[in-house]
Symmetry: C2
Subunit: 399 residues, 2 copies
């Protein structure tokens, strides 16, 4: 039997999905599970998206342009202008989800062995894409006490070596919900300029900024236009995760010409997703207002409920729909598995993501979990009751 | 300005798309172009596909399972059984087009620097995926005189080094249209077994086998179940190139578990494409009979017309919808560009793919073009008239 590659052996398994067999077993026992473990919103996809797909006059479902349909890219550049991001449609390559945008950006920017600095905790799949591109992730810890604010620039500088080729951020952050301030982004701008690094920014949660706080994009930073790559997706914006439509955006012509070669090799992004996404650009503001109001209510409820549980601490996030909570537990992997295997309360339990999967520093996140507040308030209430109960019974409780 | 990666610099540009600017300029001059340069069929996507998408009761367009919807994979395993390919749904990972299946297979099987032997001419994007995975392609020439039959096994053995980890074929072949015989595949089986190599087989044209010749899949070869990876796509089967639905299929459990990790990193394949593809499995046989009849008529017409042009030779293919023709020209890249830039006949011209892009041996294919017979007979007739005229006027004609 031929041997698989070293990369395949060392490719990380999804930390969110490794608990799935335990969840399936719990369901078979008749236990209802509140899924706070994955960023799959329950919000309905806007009609403008669904109707565009339903009424599309498709006779032959053809390949699109490798960079995506021109009509979609042109209309999409208008969407970005509404966020004061001034890009031309030729600065956009439509990708198969934000995932492919990350993957193409990494291959375009980094040689095998190059280093990328990423504040941790970070979106777990950055590990997979880095491994796939043979890029070395250098994590820089952010702290739960500061709500996962940007670490001091001096800490970044300590990590910079001749191998450092880029910095990657997620803003607003998954899994932290942290929204970087203008000052933080300007400090990153100066750093990127000083060392001539690529700055990759995953901003798929820009519609989810709360408390009147300002969303500042890396595309707003002047003087580093050739360093910046914006990674985007419609998955969360329109609750259309299955569309698999994302975008790679940059003013750097060399980056775009090279990224297009990777895009051409895989021919084109999904046609129906593009049709829906183009239609969805007509979604009325009232849809987003309603969604935002709902998420703020959910966030306020969850953060309050968490901090009322003895021994639990959870900073209040200003964006996205995640939070990282510190629990009085020995090991979050064990705890999350025990919630599915060893616990139930009124035939119910809650599924959480161990924060360990969002750190690349070994041992970090062992007393933290990520909670995606993607369920309605009643379900969230039941989930919080389960968590509270569970923490009183968990054998590995630490205080 | 930060430097892009060496991989991005050396990533091959799509040979089919490099002529696009010349085609656009010709269109602007009012010239009608017959596109025989790309495998985008004009055949209508079956109603069963389109209606499944139109009537899908989607409210939230969710992520699917990373390996694809279970309902689709189960039904799909039934489709393969109709070709005597006995696989379970767990042997299937649904991918974003056949492209992603190739890309994941290469990363799963090969380390950087490993060698893969591919009979040439071969599908041009194999170069891109190999470059992306840092795999070295070792081409083994097949000859137009034999209709691009499998080269002798002794020739393969000459190329095998300690770095050789696999062989890749396309059957029926793009760009050759050649359909491998049972004897050829059994010879490959023995070779693969002898050296314990992976055998990757791209069989996306299995619906397009002509003249009663037998389609033999690598999945039919016994004794090498752990070596074989089938790469598939619905793009041509249902004329649904824009769906971006393919599949990676293997009985090798280690390969499948590793491939799933790559699939999990990118979350899921497109949902609408899967819905359509699942619906399309109910397409009546009459659809395929009609399509096949049409392609046979087109093939017969084109091959006959080509061989009637003085100085042209084109073997008759038994599968797919491509042929490689040898022309009396100095340089196929120059000729195909000249067809768009320097030639027109009654305000019409034809766009072909230079065969050079399908060879990785430098200098090979300079007097060959690939023709995709994806247009109706009237258009094909006009295209052949253009080609015949062009060859009488081309300044670089060689005999």
């Amino acid at each position: 039997m031929p041997k698989i590659s070293d990369k395949a052996v060392s490719m990380p398994a999804s930390p969110i999905r490794k608990l799935v067999p335990f969840a399936e077993a719990a369901k078979k026992r008749g236990v209802k599970i509140y899924h706070l473990n994955i960023g799959q919103p329950d919000i309905e996809t806007p009609d403008a998206f669904l109707n565009a797909v339903k009424t599309a006059p498709v006779k032959v479902l053809e390949y699109s342009h490798s960079a995506g349909n021109e009509s979609y890219r042109k209309k999409l550049s208008g969407y970005y202008k509404s966020y004061n991001i001034n890009i031309d449609f030729t600065d956009i390559i439509i990708t198969c989800g934000g995932s492919e945008a990350i993957s193409i950006a990494m291959q375009t920017c980094f040689n095998p062995g190059d280093e990328i600095i990423i504040p941790e905790p970070f979106y777990a799949n950055y590990n997979g894409f880095s491994r796939s591109a043979d890029v070395i992730v250098k994590p820089i810890p952010s702290s739960i006490e500061s709500g996962f604010a940007l670490p001091p620039i001096s800490q970044f500088e300590k990590l910079i070596t001749p191998k450092t080729k880029g910095i990657m951020i997620c803003n607003p952050g998954n899994p932290t919900g942290y929204l970087y301030t203008k000052a933080e982004l300007e400090a990153l701008r100066d750093l990127v300029k000083k060392y001539d690094l690529f700055l990759l920014s995953d901003e798929v949660y820009r519609e989810f900024c709360y408390d009147g706080k300002e969303y500042v994009s890396v595309m707003h930073l002047s003087g580093i236009e050739n360093n910046v790559i914006l990674l985007d997706s419609i998955s969360k914006r329109y609750s259309a995760c299955g569309a698999r439509i994302g975008a790679l955006i940059s003013k750097n012509k060399e980056v775009m010409a090279s990224a297009l070669k990777f895009a051409q090799a895989r021919l084109s992004p999904p046609s129906y997703g593009q049709i829906g996404a183009e239609g969805a650009l007509d979604t009325p503001q009232s849809y987003f207002d309603g969604v935002k109001k709902e998420y703020i209510a959910r966030r306020d409820f969850v953060i309050d409920a968490l901090n009322k549980i003895p021994g639990v601490f959870c900073p209040k996030p200003s964006g996205a729909f995640y939070c990282i909570a510190r629990l009085p537990i020995d090991n979050s992997d064990k705890f999350c598995q025990w919630l599915l295997e060893g616990f139930e309360h009124n035939k119910q339990t809650v599924m959480l993501a161990p924060a360990t999967g969002f750190y690349s520093t070994p041992g970090a996140g062992t007393n933290e979990v990520r909670i995606a507040y993607v369920l309605n308030l009643e379900d969230l209430n039941n989930a919080m009751i389960c968590l509270k109960e569970a923490l009183t019974k968990y054998p590995g409780r630490t205080n």
